[in-house]
């Protein structure tokens, strides 16, 4: 605990509710270090979250915080940012939150390109409800709703977001905590919609059912399976099997929605009627 925690966390709300060794605490640490580096005034930061373990993050951080409904954080954040473009908006979601119940909002947020940063905690499981499989649970992994192993193919969140048109996509892990701060900083500074997918660990509801008994085992798994882009580029498909890439995955310079809308207002007020 040091000055940075005391500055950005609501100290009276600690200890947090997350289980021993949970990746969410590590991510929150990386996030507040990113905010500190970005130098944002706390009053100008809005943190929006959905439902589930990840959704509780907004309760612990000293910003304008909005804990919304399951899957809908991006929808609330969209209204917030449109109404007050000066806000620096960060949206926290879990894998089920972002890609199952909120999947529609995620792809459309990517397409729209509003200047905000989505931070997706991908622990491959519904933790808070007791370990049901999610759209990112690896095939054949065990879950309380997949007692014989999951048969559903899984989403690659970063790929999904690139495909949907996000202008910045990166993937980090809870193990690479320092790199995660770098990625959040880069995503926040990017003009447009940025997505940071974080491969993280749920020791209680994923690990214990899938031969990763402790938080340490899970972090070691991340360390062993994550690959930097440059290294991955030199590897064969066979070598890349079951591994995942970390770092910046995609960046594009495309028009930002709020700015475009402001231009539209200006145009309409001048009496013009055609954007083209």
């Amino acid at each position: 605990m040091d000055a940075i925690h005391r500055k950005y966390l609501r100290m009276d709300k600690l200890p947090h509710i997350w289980c021993p060794g949970c990746g969410n605490g590590i991510i929150m640490g990386s996030f507040i270090r990113a905010i500190d580096r970005l130098g944002y005034d706390q009053d100008s930061v809005a943190a929006v979250s959905g439902i589930g373990c990840s959704g509780r993050i907004t309760g612990y951080m000293d910003f304008n915080t909005l804990h919304t409904t399951h899957g809908r954080a991006l929808a609330f954040a969209t209204g917030l940012k449109m109404a007050k473009p000066g806000l620096k908006v960060f949206v926290f979601m879990g894998d089920g939150d972002a890609t199952a119940i909120g999947g529609n909002h995620l792809i459309h947020a990517c397409r729209r390109n509003i200047d905000m940063t989505a931070i997706i905690f991908n622990n491959h499981i519904y933790g808070m409800t007791g370990g049901q499989y999610s759209p990112t649970t690896p095939r054949d992994a065990y879950a309380t709703t997949a007692p014989y192993g999951t048969m559903d193919p899984h989403f690659d969140i970063a790929k999904l977001c690139v495909g949907a048109g996000a202008s910045y996509v990166a993937r980090g892990t809870s193990y690479h905590a320092k790199m995660l701060t770098d990625l959040i900083v880069e995503g926040a500074e990017h003009k447009g919609f940025s997505v940071i997918e974080i491969i993280t660990h749920c020791p209680v509801n994923f690990g214990r059912r899938n031969e990763l008994e402790t938080p340490v085992d899970m972090l070691l798994w991340q360390k062993d399976h994550a690959l930097r882009m440059a290294k991955a580029a030199k590897m064969t498909d066979d070598e890349l099997k079951d591994r995942f890439v970390i770092g910046r995955i995609h960046r594009a310079d495309i028009p930002e929605y709020v700015e475009e809308y402001d231009r539209l207002i200006e145009m309409v007020r001048k009496g013009d009627t055609d954007r083209g």
Partner: protein, 69 residues
Amino acid sequence: MTKKNFEITVDRKLCKACGICVAFCPVSVFSRDHDDKAVVTCPAKCTGCRQCELLCPDYCVRVEEIVHE
């Protein structure tokens, strides 16, 4: 160049005994007590990499450089 010294503290109230700092410290500064919580046993070995701080999910580890006058 002389070796830097660090003071490492663990807030027992916040520690949830996950064992992450113990496992990931490259020089084995920590061990676990009777409650499995982290205790600092070999602070002299600390290199100041702060991996323990970065990876502690409960912000209970603190590493401070000791500045000698």
